[in-house]
Amino acid sequence: MENDVSSPHKQRFPGLFSRLKQVRVSRTTMVCLFAFALTILMFVSMAFLSPDALQAAEGGAKSALPWWAWPLILFIVTFFLGIAAVLGGVGGGVLFVPIVSGFFPFHLDFVRGAGLLVALAGALAAGPGLLKKGLADLRLALPLAVIASACAIAGAMLGLALPTNVIQISLGATILGIVLIMLLAKKSEYPEVKQACALSTALRINGIYHEASSGQNINWQVHRTAQGLATFVIIGVMAGMFGLGAGWANVPVLNLMMGAPLKVSVATSKFLLSITDTSAAWIYVNNGAVLPMVVVPSIIGIMLGSIIGVRILAKTKPAAVRYIVIVMLLFAGGRALLKGLGI
């Protein structure tokens, strides 16, 4: 009776509300369905791209598929990777390189070149908004970018000079390392920095940002700047060598080592990628390791997927997808390792 009085519309449209409830349920199940579809896609592609088919395609022999099928599959897969990257909280490059190099006939050289351009396009798209909102900080990024971009050049040159199997093995090991970081690394929303270090004080690396969720203005400063700069030597080399982007490494260093708030770390990391990946991408472009037929469908696919991913993320935060992304990385990293070892 109470329901009847308080909800007259329910009387007029008895079926509508139950249908709306179903819609709400289907929103959450949508994510589960997506996760399920992603897993199925992985296994189907494994079966579809059997070792024989891949070997034939890799050897440039007659593949069962017409030439246009590969860019089309690449576009579809990168579309899903774009969704998975947003929901899983990782960069597109870190999923793109191991998965595409593991399951497509493209040589690792071209995949890494494309991976860098995919990560670069994503960083360029996100950068302006993050800078305007004051979440990404130019003063924090600029000194780190000098080190990272110079080292990314060295990494890219090294990556193109080393034998493919060495890169495959290193890539596999790195991806498995990233999985460990994703599983074990803690995050600190507002790390405590009792005193800014001398270097960050001299460079005036500090700021205030407005935290919309709490309505507070957060003061922040950083410490261990010299250690942070030194770590970016390794991050830069790895970003250039593997074409992965480097958000997975940037964020822990900015947040846990240097003590920048998590949001500032994530935003500054994304912006930093636009600089680091630019320098490395030029080495790949100038050495011929960029094929438009691989690069452009990947960029468009992953960017469209990211847009859809952001829409799904706005409705729900699926923790399960993060674990599926971890499983995908584990799988792709393992495959890269085995491929490098010739197993």
Partner: protein, 138 residues
């Protein structure tokens, strides 16, 4: 406090230029790819031959196709595949242009250290883009 909450002048200028460059670059990339995919301009490598090359290491691919790396693509813009490098190069040049734009702002604000850092970054990016740095190949 209110002033500190706002992004700095150089940060806003950088963001505005980055936004414009990214949009123009992506649009160029999409348009040139449509031209390539529809065959309006004949490509240097026929699309049906691509599977023969995309599984090769880059040095082998360059040898097999006779393509010269570096900025040579600028002389081959009449070819559908090389036309795509316009958008790719544009996206890869945006950051360099943004840095060049903020250098005078930093020096005007007497922020000499960051002015020098920005110049060093411009030099690093220019070196990477120049094509001077060649990799030995596998």
């Amino acid at each position: 406090m209110a002033d500190k909450l706002k992004a700095t002048e150089e940060q806003l200028v950088y963001a505005k230029l980055l936004d414009l460059g990214m949009k123009v670059g992506l649009l160029t990339l999409i348009i040139t790819f449509i031209i390539y995919a529809t065959g309006i301009f004949a490509p240097q490598i026929p699309v049906s031959d691509l599977p023969k090359y995309w599984s090769m290491p880059v040095h082998q691919y360059l040898e097999a196709t006779g393509i010269h790396p570096g900025w040579v693509w600028l002389t081959m813009l009449g070819k559908g595949d090389f036309l795509n490098f316009t958008g790719i190069a544009f996206l890869a040049l945006v950051t360099l242009v943004c840095y060049v734009r903020i250098v005078p702002i930093l020096f005007r604000k007497k922020d000499t250290i960051y002015g020098v850092i920005a110049i060093v970054e411009v030099l690093i990016l220019a070196l990477a883009a120049s094509g001077v740095l060649k990799s030995g190949g596998h």
